[in-house]
Amino acid sequence: MGKQLSIFVENKPGKINKITGILEKEKINLKAMTIADSGTFGIVKIITDNNRRAFDVLKKANFLVSFQNVVVVEIPDRVGAFHRVAKILEDEKINIEDAYGFIMEEGQKAALILKVPEPERVEKVLKRRGYKLIENF
């Protein structure tokens, strides 16, 4: 099962900077980041090359942080690749709550991160279709 880190942040200048600063200092590589906000506060979701350590150092810095299960699937870096995954999930009547991604190798492969209600089932479905799942970087 893939993991993402969710961090509670107040919506004000300098908050993201503080998180990225801590990760840099600890030599943790930030792979992807996305933000969901709700006016005065929001949640920053990140994936790093060492989620466990990222969790510990952020917690130590007094951030509210928690792990969430996500599906991280490797897809080819080309036109229509995400669409193919989305189509499979539609056929299985699986709702995507949140999705983001990043390029792993230009023109070769990308990682797609999916927040879904039943991650175990989605992993099974994608595996069956020949997709490679990523648990850790």
Binding site: L5, S6, F8, V9, E10, A36, S38, T40, F41, G42, I43, K45, N62, F63, L64, V65, S66, F67, Q68
Partner: protein, 431 residues
């Protein structure tokens, strides 16, 4: 079960007679102090009290009057009769001093002992006094009262939490006197940092005072420690703690009416309100020799609780202090006390007890913002869960204060801590 049976369940008629008699003596005595001598002369006032209600002819004494008569303008006896001095915390401006004779100290200890006894403290108890000693009245006031009762008193003073825990365990302390915020902190240190089970302690009673707090705070503390928590009221101008004390029924505080005459007034007009109405508490010392004070405006908001208390004490009860006239703020024409907001936060487990209130005005409209910290254990990374907490806070606050606030969830530890006198209300309006 009373400390002073004849004085605590005295008949209402007798009590009134004692009050009238003592009020005359108090006014005569006060007239010997430079401050009141001048005041009485100016207004042509004499101690002709035929009914206790005649007190209303006398003007109020305010904190400012005390300040102006610094250091000893209200002292009514020769200095050699005085044995002790205390000072108010002086949060605003110069502190005010209060002087006591030997009898005053004796009476004060007796009133505290009455209160401790009403809360269930006995001579067999080990009493750890965790309030600061010194100019502040909280430490010495309860110290003398508990000694008078015959308990074993440990004068621990405030702070030094590790030492406090050691004493609590080694001496099997059964009763503590502490501020509510320090009691919270103590529980946190014992359970979270020291990882000691609270069942290892012999505590059964906590007397809390010096900070206005809500009923919810009390219940929460009782639940954490599995003890009884009793509220104690007092102010340095009226000796200190021991003016009013809760009995075993924990429903209001018996105010010792043979030593204090209490009125509830409308803080705007100064008119005495009918019994049961909420307003500012005004107190007159009835037996104090060193420094009698007449109609002192406490700025504390409370009301008399009507009816007899099942405990049998005839001294009337006042409700838990709701706030201070100077804490109150008005938003959209509604009077709000920080204590009301605190009470709501106590009901919502997902947030911490620290908060900050910010009031501003935008295009002529008042805006009330409540900032509150999300509690660590409740964060699961879901934005919608945070939004649900926010909505619950908005709804519950609106039901209680009648104004719809903006609720801002903030990171843990980002608001000023609950220990000490943190500024909780920030009014940015230019009125």
């Amino acid at each position: 079960m009373f400390f002073q049976p004849d004085k605590e369940n005295i008949s209402t008629d007798k009590l009134k007679a004692i009050q009238e008699e003592n009020l005359i003596r108090t006014i005569e005595l006060a007239g010997r102090s430079p401050y009141y001598r001048k005041l009485f002369k100016q207004y042509g006032l004499k101690p002709d009290i035929r009914d206790i209600k005649d007190i209303e002819k006398f003007p109020f004494t305010t904190k400012e009057d005390l300040r102006k008569s610094y250091p000893a303008g209200m002292v009514a006896v020769p200095f050699e009769k005085l044995v002790r001095m205390h000072a108010s915390s002086g949060t605003t401006g110069k502190s005010t001093l209060v002087f006591h004779t030997k009898n005053d100290i004796e009476n004060w200890a007796t009133l505290v002992a009455r209160g401790l006894y009403a809360a269930g403290v006995r001579s067999t108890d080990i009493f750890q006094n965790m309030m600061s000693y010194g100019l502040f009245t909280g430490g010495l006031g309860l110290h003398y009262g508990a000694e008078k009762l015959g308990a074993l008193v440990i004068p621990a003073g405030s702070g030094n939490t590790q030492k406090q825990i050691e004493l609590l365990l080694d001496l099997r302390t059964t009763v503590i006197h502490i501020t509510p915020s320090y009691l919270f902190y103590l529980g946190h240190v014992i359970e979270e940092e020291e990882k000691i089970s609270l069942s290892k302690f012999s505590l059964r009673i906590a007397i809390v005072g010096a900070e206005p707090h809500s009923e919810e705070t009390r219940r929460k503390l009782e639940k954490i420690f599995r003890i009884k928590v009793f509220n104690c009221y007092g102010l340095s101008e009226m000796n200190g703690p021991g003016v009013a004390f809760e009995c075993e029924y924990q429903n209001g505080l018996h105010l010792w009416e043979d030593h204090y005459y209490a009125e509830i007034i409308d803080p705007e007009t100064g008119k005495v309100l009918p019994e049961g109405r909420e307003g500012e508490l005004v107190l007159t010392t009835l037996q104090r020799e060193g420094m009698p004070v007449i109609r002192y405006r406490t700025r504390d908001i409370t009301k008399f609780i009507k009816g007899r208390c099942p405990c049998g004490r005839t001294h009337r009860k006042i409700a838990r202090i709701k706030g201070r006239t100077d804490d109150m703020f008005i938003v959209k024409g509604v009077n709000i006390f920080p204590s009301q907001i605190e009470a709501v936060l106590m009901q919502i487990p997902e947030v911490d007890k620290n908060y900050r209130i910010i009031i501003d005005r935008y295009e002529g409209l008042d805006n009330l913002t409540v900032e509150v910290e999300v509690k660590k254990g409740f964060f699961d990374g879901e934005l919608r869960h945070l939004k649900a907490i926010q909505d619950k806070l908005i709804d519950t606050l609106k039901d209680n204060i009648l104004v719809t606030p903006v609720v801002k969830l903030v990171e843990p530890g980002s608001l000023p801590s609950s220990t000490g006198k943190a500024q909780r209300v920030i009014d940015k309006r230019r009125l």
